[in-house]
Every structure is written in structure tokens, then in C-alpha cells.
Amino acid sequence: MKARVLVTLKSAVLDPQGKAIEGALRSLGVPGVASVRQGKVFDVELDGDDKVRAEATLKDACEKLLANTVIESYRIEFVG
């Protein structure tokens, strides 16, 4: 089973990298960019096809390692 985990900075946390990218897009003349926030994507392949168990496993992985919940939040999506 394939899953995608998205880890993003909480909205209250300043994102200097996102800001720099936002500035670069503006200087390139890309129109209509209001703001950019950078995050991380993890594509994870899991054994078996029990979605409930897979979600619990990934949640555990996020809490233990993939996200630092002081500053980040995460979302789990199943692909395909």
C-alpha cells in the first residue's frame, strides 16, 4: 500500500525558506503569488493492505520522527 505523508509548519511559525522562495518567485515575475510556505513530502510503501493499521503506523511514525509537533503538523493520504 502506498501512502503520502505531508509535514508542514504550523501557521504561527515563521517560515524563512518559504519567504525566500516567495521573494524569488516575485523577482522572476511569476504573477499572483500571495505567499509560499515550504513543507515536506514522504512517500511511504507499507506492507499489507489494512488501511486502518497503516494509518495508525504512519501516525506513530509522524509522532516519533517525521514531524516535530512543536512546530509542524502532518497529514496522511493514501494514494492509488
Binding site: 515563521l14 524563512p16 520522527l65 517525521l66 516535530n68 512546530i71
Partner: protein, 232 residues
């Protein structure tokens, strides 16, 4: 006094930490590889040195914080043993939950590499007792992710409990949160655990111990530790 300096893949200041400990405190120092599960018998002090453990992959300090030796460090800290995390070591301590908060990318995305002025906020800790009250010391900083962040409640608690041990200050010793070195909340450079036996700081006291290289402001920190452990 026996010290253990941990070595993770990508640590690069373990030699400097070892040298400072040996020179200033006369400590016997062993280097301990991250995959070990136990600290050498009789370890009084554990040092997590600076560097770029695991290339700062995922988040700085994140992977090192989950190394097997860290369980032994947690047990050592729980027993009241001393733990010192410098730079990447501070980042690892935050990621491991031994200290609250997290170090994020510097404001303005600048890697800062220079001397910083720090106020020693408390001199009744095992790490700072040799400094004069209210002393301002010079330690070098060299980091891209030293911007201390924590939620408002955690900051309030740290301040209320007097757990901010080092704070960045201006040349005249004032705290000025608008003077951006790295953007750290409340100009925090170093904090301690509740029992004051775990200290994490971004600046490098181990750089300033040898008069041959200039200032020796960092000696006080290692002398403090040695003094505490000799008494014990």
C-alpha cells in the same frame, strides 16, 4: 571526573569538546559512538558536541536524537547526571525531549559565524557557578539553525522558572530582541532542564579556552562543571 563525549555520524566538534574538558577540568574523556547502548561506567558528564549529525537531514538533530545511546543519556539525566549540549548538541537535546522547544532556521536565512555576547543569567547552576553574577561573556557562534522557538506557554514557564541560562545581549549588556542574530525567542542562547542538570546552548564555550587562540571566556563553564563534580 569522567566525561563522555558522544559521536554521531556528522559530529565534528567532539575533538574540541574533549580537548577543552581535558585542558580545563582535567577530566578523563571517552568518545562514545552513537550506536552504543550504555555510557562508560561512572560517567559524570555527557557532552553532545557540535557538528551536523546526519547532515541535518529531516530536521537538525532529529535523527541523532533517536540514536540508541540517547536512551542511556535520558537515564543518566533522570538520575541527575550532567548533560551538556553545544550547538548541534543543543538541537539534539531539544529533538530528544530532554529540553523543551526547538531550534529552527535563522531569521533572514543567515548562517552566523562570529563572536556573540551572552549574559549569564544564573550563576547557581552546575555549568555557570564560576562566573560572576550578571557577567557578560564572549563565546563564538557558528550555526544556520539557532533560532530558538517554543510556544508562548513554554517560554513563560522557562522564564518564570529561571531556566534561561544564557541570553544574547548587545555590547552594553542589554537584551534587545530586535537586534537579530538568529531570531531566537526572547534572545535565548541557552536553557536548562527543570533540575538544572541538562544545559543546551548554541554558542561554543569550548572554542574559547586556550589563551593561544585568544579569549578564554569559555573556561568558566568547564571549571564550573569540574568544581561541582570534585565536590561530589
Amino acid at each position: 571526573m569522567k566525561s563522555a563525549v558522544l559521536v554521531f555520524p556528522g559530529s565534528n566538534r567532539e575533538g574540541d569538546a574533549k580537548r577543552a574538558l581535558e585542558n580545563v577540568s582535567g577530566s578523563r574523556v571517552s568518545l562514545v559512538w552513537h550506536a552504543e547502548t550504555e555510557l562508560p561506567t561512572g560517567t559524570d558528564l555527557v557532552v553532545l558536541p557540535g557538528g551536523f549529525s546526519y547532515g541535518d537531514y529531516l530536521r537538525c538533530g532529529a535523527i541523532a536524537a533517536r540514536a540508541s545511546i540517547m536512551d542511556a543519556v535520558r537515564a543518566h539525566a533522570a538520575r541527575g547526571g550532567l548533560v551538556l549540549g553545544i550547538c548541534n548538541g543543543f538541537q539534539i537535546l531539544c529533538e530528544s525531549g530532554l529540553l523543551p522547544g526547538v531550534l529552527v532556521r535563522n531569521a533572514r536565512l543567515r548562517f552566523v559565524c562570529r563572536e556573540a555576547l551572552l549574559k549569564v543569567e544564573r550563576t547557581d547552576t552546575p555549568f555557570t557557578r564560576k562566573y560572576a553574577k550578571g557577567a557578560v561573556v564572549r563565546y563564538p557562534v557558528a550555526h544556520g539553525e539557532g533560532n530558538y522557538a517554543a510556544d508562548a506557554e513554554t517560554l513563560k514557564q522557562l522564564e518564570g522558572d529561571g531556566r534561561v541560562i544564557f541570553r544574547y545581549v548587545t555590547a552594553d549588556g542589554r537584551r534587545d530582541d530586535t537586534q537579530v542574530l538568529n531570531g531566537a525567542a526572547n534572545s535565548i542562547a541557552g536553557i536548562a532542564s527543570e533540575k538544572l542538570n541538562v544545559l543546551g546552548l548554541m554558542p561554543h564555550p569550548e572554542n574559547h579556552v586556550d589563551p593561544l587562540l585568544g579569549p578564554t571566556d569559555g573556561r568558566g563553564l568547564f571549571e564550573s562543571i569540574a568544581g561541582v563534580l570534585e565536590k561530589a
